[in-house]
Amino acid sequence: MLEVASQPLLLEVNSVVKRFGGVAAVGGLTAHVRQGSVHGLIGPNGAGKTTLINLITGLLHPDEGQIHFAGRHLEKMKPQQIAGLGITRTYQNVRLFSGMSVLEQVMTGCFLERKAGLFSSFLGLPSARNDWKRVREHAMHLLKRVAMDHTADELAETLSYGEQRRIEIARALGSNPRLLLLDEPTAGMNHAEATAVGLLVHELRDAGITILMVEHNMGLVTEFCDSCTVMNFGQLLAEGDPRSCIANPDVQEAYFGRKNDAERIKSLR
């Protein structure tokens, strides 16, 4: 395993604020993700984790603060520019394209990988055809990686939820990202499936991709994450080694409630 602490920072979130009306979904959050690490993003529902992912990928823009990625400022960039820098993602509620086959989904994810221009692709020039074939093979390879290559020609929406999640990961890998953001990749999966995703995440990290994943399964976080950030009410609760983060009394309280409260509830019964 890589010595993560010595790696340079790849992503820096600096006092980022995002308000929706009067509510600060993210209220001055600072977080760091080191290159080559699997970084967990945890926190109770409504803590602002998905909002943070949306801010990093440019679907939302922060009201205050900065987001640095490999020395670049992301906060004013458009999503497609950020994707061009090498950040891709999956979604909490799977968002595959309706009406597309599994292979087409992943091919779309490879849009930035293509070398042919839109016009030469339209004309069907030999170079563009070869390029299309190359990208197609790349997409098939990614499908093999998530063990979904046998479904390449099927309509993605006819497959099971867990399968769609894996296809979404393959799609996000299409453009060979440097940073992959996974928003609850194991939601709705059983233990074996979740562990398979954890192992895949480690494989990807060992191939040089930094991963930031939102995850609720604490067992998975301690087993597969190198470091983590805990959020609550849009703010930082703890950051660092997963085990010590989860042992942190504040984190315990945010997730499981106060001990006195539990005793009071007991006495009320």
């Binding site: 999503p79 891709t88 009406g99 779309t108 309509l155």
Partner: protein, 297 residues
Amino acid sequence: MEALFDFWAAYGSTVTFAMANAFFALSTYAVLSTGVLSFTTVTFAAIGGFLAAQMVGQFGLHVYLAFLIAGIGGGLGAAVVASLFLRLESHWMALASLALVLITRVTALNTPGLTGGVNGLVVPVTISQFELFVLLTVTTLVFYRLHNSWYGLASRAVREDAAVASTMGISPYRIQFTAFLISGAVGGLGGAALAFTLQFISPDTYFIGIAFTMIASTVLGGSFHWFGPIVGALIFTALPAAMQAVVPAVEDVAKGVVLILIMVFLPRGLIDPRAIGLRRAAKRRRDIEHEAEKTHA
């Protein structure tokens, strides 16, 4: 054989109008396939129609050259429209495009030097059905190539979920702008085709009638594959004529009834690639169940 000739004599012009309408339907499809509902095809058709008529009438240019200029004119008009309209949210854009249809007619009425105003323009030249067929085939070929290229894939992604597409490096603005250019060029060609077919055009030629026809054809045929709008235009144009032959009184009602039936029972249109995939998936599931039963028994 004789019956065939009779049929042709009666319905030959219907086929010609169906082909002209196919251009309008394809022009609508061009933007709709990137998630933009726009009636601006009518404006592009007017630009193409009056340009082509003037080029032939005033400057004595060849019909083919007039078509080329109509296409380019429509495309340029589309560039202007797109740079303004793509700032709007989708439903506002649809509304704005409808407003543009009204503006187009008023503008055409008040620029008699270009359009003949209320008196309209007589177009002294016509084209054969075969020439129109060739032009439509070439246009269809363009849509076929687009569908099977990176642009096609990207436009489908933008239509289904523009936000997700953008996080994969696809610029929805660029794709939709390109779609408008294509819509403009094809709309311009359609406008010219209509001008050379009717041989008389006025501001009312390019008005609500076309807007209704192009949307109905696209809904009827389906907007998820380039073949849909062509089939839609053919049926939508031929249907009233056919109905008239059977029951003359219902001609006008028939259009509306068919449209409602299609929207209720085939909301994605007659040509729907997704339905094929769904049917295949259902069949596969049945096969698996059969296998399971067999091994059980």
